[in-house]
């Protein structure tokens, strides 16, 4: 009994607490640098994957029961296949709004842009409530399917985000609405370029450093500009909802709402943009725009 008491209180417990806190602090510092702890996270994610599965189970079961009551199983499979095909087709057609505008300005570049043939893969979102203000989702595809860090993900309506952690059988994606996420964009109508960063709210985006006299209107479609060499050009990112011009400020405050259903999407598309083409593509766009 004396041992127990000693263990429970006294200097030994305080020492253990100190050691654990130091370890946590070290972990946090190293993890903040992102790269080094990928292996640890990978192992941990394998350990907790069953848990994620369990958390997801009630929702999955409800969905499963609902489906079983309405249709036969063969129809379900077909339906699922068609939905996935539909998602892929919708994604392809997303490019057209941007390509039309591009056609006016950069007719000769249209061909090369059309040749960009992107590989896609449908991934399921494992439903998880992740801590705000960080907005991330966990996908059921990992490095075994060729997912890589920095890979863009989209849904049927626009760009959703990018992969930040890759584990063997799952991966974590940062959504465009996350406060630490930003991507280079362009106003589809006028070609004004800006950086769209997340506002941390459910579907809000902010455009940073938009000049006061820039040609931006409410309702303008914002598309990715592809200048980062990471996101492919011409995918919808959001729609401008609010512009406030304060003459005392150097830049206009432009608020937009994300096109992708970032919070509701159950299935997303992982993109493998053709990396050989994109740098050329963006640099030629850049040079023409500057002339």
């Amino acid at each position: 009994m004396a041992e127990k008491t000693l263990f429970r209180r006294g200097p030994l417990l305080r020492l253990r607490l100190g050691l654990l806190l130091l370890t946590s602090l070290g972990l946090m510092i190293v993890d903040h640098q992102r790269e080094q702890l990928e292996d640890v996270r990978g192992v941990l994610s394998l350990v907790v994957y069953p848990l994620q599965y369990v958390v997801n189970l009630p929702q999955e079961m409800v969905r499963g029961v609902r489906k079983a009551l309405v249709t036969k199983s063969s129809l379900i499979d077909e339906n699922r296949l068609l939905r996935r095909q539909n998602l892929i087709l919708k994604t392809r057609s997303q490019r057209f709004a941007a390509l039309e505008a591009e056609n006016m300005r950069l007719r000769e570049l249209l061909e090369s842009s059309l040749e960009v043939n992107e590989r896609v893969l449908v991934a399921d979102v494992i439903a998880l409530e992740l801590v705000p203000p960080s907005r991330t989702v966990v996908l059921d595809k990992g490095s075994q399917q060729g997912v890589y860090q920095g890979q863009p993900i989209i849904d049927g309506d626009g760009i959703m985000g990018q992969i930040i952690h890759v584990n063997p059988i799952s991966s974590t994606a940062l959504l465009v609405t996350d406060i630490s996420h930003a991507l280079p964009v362009q106003i589809n109508r006028s070609g004004v370029r800006a950086i769209a960063s997340g506002s941390g709210s459910a579907d809000g985006l902010e455009l940073a450093h938009v000049p006061l006299n820039a040609d931006v209107k409410r309702g303008d479609l914002i598309v990715s500009s592809g200048l980062d060499g990471r996101f492919p050009a011409g995918y919808p990112v959001g729609v401008v909802t609010e512009i406030s011009v304060d003459p005392g400020e150097p830049f206009a405050k432009v608020i937009a709402v994300a096109s992708a259903k970032v919070e509701q999407a159950r299935e997303v598309l992982l993109l493998w943009p053709d990396r050989r083409q994109s740098p050329d593509h963006s640099s030629s766009r850049e040079s023409i725009a500057f002339q």
């Binding site: 429970r8 370890t23 958390v55 998880l128 409530e129």
Partner: protein, 162 residues
Amino acid sequence: MMAEQGGSAWAIPVTLLAAIVLTLMPLPDWAVAWRPAWTAMVLIYWCMAVPDRVGIGVAWGIGLVLDALEGSLLGQHAAGFAIIAYFTVTNHRRLRTFSWFQQSLCVGLLVATNALLKTWVQGIMGLTPDYAIHWLPVISTMVFWPWLYLVLRDMRRKHGIV
């Protein structure tokens, strides 16, 4: 050693797992900010009831699992839970004698400590913490604590975990 202390203790890992599942369970938007700190509550209960079995080491491990699941900074929950467990284990006799109201206050205080740590870490990381999401759970935790206490106490007595 473990066998001497009482009956089978499977209820401890099961309730901890259930708490983690509840912590991650999708909720409607209005309820997300009010989600009680289930994992911390269950940890506090076991630290208070059986401090020889569940202590700061277990709490730290559970915190690490939660960090991996939530995608928060590795070690953030781990540190918070270790601190919570430390104060609970060192004061477990006192906590046991408290009325449910006093206990709720103490649990709220412990969860608030954890929330404070979270806001610090997020502040240092350069994120602007959403205050509601950190502090509303303190209130809901205090409301849910007496009921959770009753459920877990019954479970502990039924399975003879000492």
